[in-house]
């Protein structure tokens, strides 16, 4: 535990510094491109820190309850190793279980929700709405 400022506050400040102070002073286009990426990454990491999600990609997967056939019991792992084990078991289930359209829809919906949790933090502007088809 550190004294203030908190991690997310520091990352927000870094993002602002890179975008507001550094970027206008950089003239090389290749370096400008990378400063923009750095500012964008700092802003995203600030959101991750604020949300308590230590690293995207480590979001706990949950078994889709309505998916036939019934998958192994739900788990709520916490350590990276346990999360990886659960992801491996889920991937194995996805590869081998008999799946009809309803099972595909249920599994895809559940896995889409997990991906959506990551996207909400990494890129809040990404349109995750159900009526996205209407826009297309």
């Amino acid at each position: 535990m550190q004294d203030p400022p908190a991690t997310d506050q520091l990352l927000d400040a870094l993002a602002a510094f890179l975008g507001r102070d550094v970027l206008p002073a950089v003239t090389d286009p290749a370096l400008q491109f990378r400063v923009r990426i750095a500012a964008h990454l700092c802003a995203g990491l600030g959101r991750e820190a604020a949300s308590g999600c230590r690293a995207t990609g480590r979001t706990s997967p949950r078994w889709p309850r309505s998916s036939p056939p019934r998958p192994p019991p739900p788990t709520t792992p916490r350590s990276p190793g346990a999360i990886r084990d659960t992801e491996r078991a889920l991937a194995d289930h996805v590869r081998r279980a008999p799946l009809d359209d309803a099972a595909y829809a249920a599994l895809a919906g559940a896995l889409q929700a997990i991906a959506g949790q990551k996207v909400a933090v990494a890129n809040p502007k990404f349109d995750r709405s159900d009526d996205f088809d209407r826009i297309e």
Partner: protein
Amino acid sequence: MQTDLPDWAPTLAEHLSAAAGAPARIVGVRPLAGGACQDNFRIDAEVGGAAQRFALRSDARSSLPGSISRAAERAVIDLAVASGVPTPAVRAEIADLLRPGATALLMDWVEGVAIAARVLRDERLAAARSALPSQLAAALVAVHRVRPAPGVLEVPHSARPGVPAAQAMLGFSRATLDTLPEPKPGLELVLRWLAEHPPPERAPSLCHGDFRMGNFMVGPEGLAAVVDWEFAHWGSPADDLGWLCVRDWRFGQNDRAAGGLVPRQAFVDAYVAAGGAPVTAQELEWWEIAGGLRWAAGAHWQAQRVLQGHEQDLELLAIGRRAAEIEFEALRRVRRASGG
């Protein structure tokens, strides 16, 4: 004039002189932004006393699975140029230029804008955007006129005798997923759904493999050139059409699914009008979802190039964090196609 030229500039000048048949010297070398898989440079030269500009494209230290070598890319570009595709011709192929084992291509320079956000939003390119759909469709038809040539593009995602285009592409995505250090259940589901709902087989043709905004050089009149053939392969023409419609390549213009320019059907209509074979909405959807799978796996792999110590590039790490968006969209399409 630039005085701090890289130590490979004299070698480049020798090759340029041989290709041009006139004395040549290099007067400027500037790295170009945006190349995630190659080292790209703008080269200013004097050839026979006249100023000329070229692009230099070299093998990077590492690349994505399926990325072809510069020597293979040269063969593809030669075929594309002969078929009438607007793309910069190769003037020289130089082994071991930037470092041992890295081949570089010296290519014609084409003026234009490739940055997608500018192409899609810059007011000064409004007329170009109107012209682009039909120009891109015509270019794609010219790409797809090229039929498989022996010994060219023998890459895992190429269709080949006994392995249809869809099967080759899914085999490639399977292999890419298997190389990632962590399991990806969402992408596994997408891959399985694709394998169980295959599209119709088509006679294979050349596929650009990365036909999307960002690889189009655009000027005031519209398309100046199609560039970046590193993912070229033999496959279904619908592959390139589906890839163009992958959500990531719309750069926020979500009401225009085909590259952020026009709706899907409008681009398919332009493609057919230019002489391309018709593609159904269902077939296009399959290749669009397959494109999402390929790009999501590729985005994870881009980050691995840094995490495994092959590269030091912030952009590659940032691309890894975007994989979730691509996976989200592919799963949404599978859910919808399954009635969910």
